[in-house]
């Protein structure tokens, strides 16, 4: 009995140690830069950049084969962050900054087909079959997927409306 216990414990220990050693020794190196870049991207996997998802975009960015302006939902702050990270100059001037946007469902047009609800990568749309759908502004990344699928053009992008909590002074006009 004791011999059986002992031998099994020893066997388990030996195998465990072996596995642990192998895990460290034979580790497949992920590219840390890609991981970091991916962490900076919005993660909504919307595909607007032309890559299959944020991981693909991060890989292309790390290789330098994609411009840092590739991600529309990330907006200007992301471009600036990427420029700082990758040490490249961002040509933001070409990019018309439309400010933060969100999706909106026009109640008169929505037929409750649930297409937008199914496609939204961040579960920002709420609704059920045959009911008017609505968008949670807090969760919408303005990826535009819902606009693409809506059969009645009930979804559209609008500039994020300012609230008392988010409003702030606009920039003064520069002296002539």
């Amino acid at each position: 009995m004791i011999a059986a216990l002992l031998s099994l414990t020893l066997l388990g220990l030996a195998l465990g140690l072996g596995l642990g050693y192998a895990a460290i020794r034979l580790k497949v190196e992920g590219n840390p830069l890609v991981e970091e870049l991916e962490a900076m991207l919005p993660g909504s996997q919307c595909g607007q950049c032309g890559f299959p998802g944020c991981t693909g975009a991060a890989m292309a960015l790390a290789e330098g084969s994609a411009p840092i302006t590739l991600c529309p939902p990330g907006g200007r702050p992301l471009i600036e962050a990427l420029a700082a990270k990758l040490g490249v100059e961002a040509d933001i001037s070409a990019l018309a900054d439309s400010g933060p946007q969100v999706a909106e469902v026009l109640e008169d047009l929505c037929i409750g087909c649930t297409k937008c609800y199914k496609v939204c990568p961040t579960d920002a749309i709420m609704g059920a079959a045959k009911q008017i759908h609505m968008v949670f502004r807090e969760a919408c990344t303005a990826c535009g997927k819902c606009v693409d699928v809506c059969p009645t053009e009930a979804t559209r992008m609008i500039p994020l409306p300012a609230t008392l909590q988010t409003w702030y002074w606009s920039k003064p006009e520069v002296a002539a």
């Binding site: 702050p77 990568p121 579960d123 969760a139 919408c140 990344t141 008392l164 002074w169 920039k171």
Partner: protein, 518 residues
């Protein structure tokens, strides 16, 4: 005249009869006071308007949540909306009457955005709500005093409108030793604190002692600018035989700012990015002390305040005691209306107040003034380029370099401005005031602070949406897995069933064969 000369200080100290001389301050400006316009007439009570518009957000922090419904009749002082969250303040009925509407109404906010507002039709009776009044408020525990201050909806009446109870609770926890009462009132035109101190000094001192009781502060200093000799005399008389010391401080802008008042009275500087409590000091406005006295001794929540109605365009400038929710237009009418067209309308002081586009905006707890300024009183010159004269640097009470910060913000680099100390800017506007090129420096700083906050919010939102996206992909993967699993199970079941069938068939065949053989 940026530095206060030593002999002047000593003279001053001798005049108010105290041993400790005042401490030096950096920067500051001397805008024309124009306080004489409204300082002389005594406080009048505003004739009760027919309708009051009570916003749910009158303070820094989360808006209050309304508890009443349309059609309900309320008494004066009844709770209309409860505070929600850590930093918030309740709102009470400013008069008795009927709630006629709940909805959005233009608020006293620089954006002109609408805010949730209760409309109260006054019944004209001013019937007070029954309140429980402690026999001796000083017998209450410090926590109880602070809690009652919170329940009375009291916020900082100097303008910032920070919930007073939050500050009291924080001060007790961080063992504040010194209580500074701010009677600086350094903004031009405003005289509401001046009049209040002249007319109701006794109540203010009692309120000050209650605040001290709530925090355990042992040293109590009241700082009043020396351009208000009557207020100083009245407060000194009321504070006689108490531990409250009334001290005259030199008149300059922004003396009434918390950090400057601390520095001139104690010589201590609030560390960059820190709070007054970090150096054991609590600062409150004298108007707040009056509100505390009213709440604790009379059971009256904060439902009215003293407001200066002034400016060159006002017929008869004066101070009014007005219910919260009265429209700025009601106040101007009570002062004889406008003499001439106003070039600028301001809620609060001219340096830090909110510019209004019209007078149909309700008064809130933090509104210290309603100003109608003529074109002669406001400068409207197009900004020119910076000539690097460094006037703004000399004027800045926080020792910052406004021209450098503005240059960073102009090229879209607010983070660069932070490196130059943007976070320490108190938005006093001294720099804009002195700039010979009329550069709206403080506007740049307000914009940049908002911009940075918006970026911060966006970052947080991105993190949140990322989590949502991850959760969704996980869920999708799980659904696929479950489907596959189900399909596999179905297939396995089918296979098993088939096998069983087969076995039965084989057995039957074997049995048949056996029979045949037999």
């Amino acid at each position: 005249m940026n530095r206060i000369s030593e002999p002047f200080l000593q003279r001053l100290a001798a005049r108010v009869g105290l041993g400790s001389p005042l401490h030096k301050l950096r920067g500051g400006v001397h805008p024309e006071g124009r306080k004489d316009l409204s300082a002389d007439p005594p406080i009048r009570v505003l004739p009760l308007p027919e309708r009051l518009f009570v916003p749910m957000q009158q303070h820094i922090g989360a808006p209050a949540r309304h508890l009443v419904s349309v059609g309900e009749t309320v008494k004066k002082g009844q709770l209309l909306a409860a505070s929600q969250g850590m930093v918030s303040a309740p709102v009470h009925a400013p008069t008795s009457g009927r709630i006629s509407a709940i909805g959005d109404f233009p608020g006293p906010h620089p954006s002109g955005l609408q805010m949730p507002t209760l409309t109260l039709e006054a019944d004209g009776n001013e019937t007070w709500f029954e309140a429980d009044i402690p026999a001796d408020p000083f017998a209450l525990s410090p926590e109880e005093v602070a809690t009652r201050v919170g329940a009375a909806g009291i916020v900082g009446l100097g303008g910032a409108a920070f919930p007073a109870a939050v500050k009291l609770h924080l001060s007790r926890r961080s063992e504040v030793r010194t209580l500074i009462m701010n009677g600086g009132e350094c903004e031009p035109y405003l005289t509401c604190d001046d009049r209040l101190m002249r007319e109701r000094a006794q109540q203010i001192v009692e309120g000050i002692r209650l605040i001290a009781h709530a925090t355990g502060a042992s040293k109590i200093l009241v700082g009043i600018e020396d351009n208000k000799p009557e207020a100083i005399a009245a407060m000194q008389a009321a504070a006689k035989a108490t531990v409250v010391q009334v001290i005259a401080v030199p008149a300059m802008y922004p003396m009434g700012s918390e950090k400057q008042m601390i520095q001139v009275l104690t010589g201590q500087e609030v560390p960059a990015g820190g709070r007054a409590a970090d150096i054991g000091v609590l600062v409150h406005n004298v108007g707040t002390a009056y509100a505390v006295q009213q709440a604790l001794c009379l059971g009256r929540p904060l439902v009215s305040r003293i407001v200066t109605v002034s400016g060159g365009a006002i017929m008869a400038p004066c101070n009014l005691e007005a219910p919260i929710g009265a429209l700025a237009a009601d106040l101007v009418r009570a002062c004889g209306g406008l003499r001439i067209d106003a070039a600028r309308l301001v809620l609060g002081g001219p340096m830090m107040g909110t510019q209004l586009s019209n007078l149909d905006v309700p008064l809130v707890k933090g509104s210290s003034g309603v100003l109608a300024l003529t074109s002669a009183e406001v400068e409207q010159t197009r900004p020119g380029p910076c000539i690097r004269c460094s006037s703004c640097v000399r004027a800045c009470p926080m020792g910052l370099l406004p021209l450098e910060m503005a240059a960073r913000i102009r090229v879209g680099d607010p983070a660069g401005a932070v490196d130059w100390g943007l976070k320490d800017c108190i938005a006093c506007g001294s720099c804009s005031y002195v700039c010979p090129s009329h550069i709206p420096l403080v506007h740049y700083f307000n914009h940049a602070k908002g911009d940075l906050a918006a970026r911060e919010r966006l970052k947080m939102k991105n993190e949140a949406t990322k989590k949502l996206a991850d959760e969704r992909s996980e869920r999708m993967a799980r659904i696929v897995r479950e489907r596959e699993e189900a399909a596999r199970l179905r297939a396995a079941k089918k296979a098993a069933a088939d096998a069983a069938k087969k076995a039965v068939a084989v057995a039957a065949a074997a049995a048949a064969k056996e029979k045949e053989l037999a």
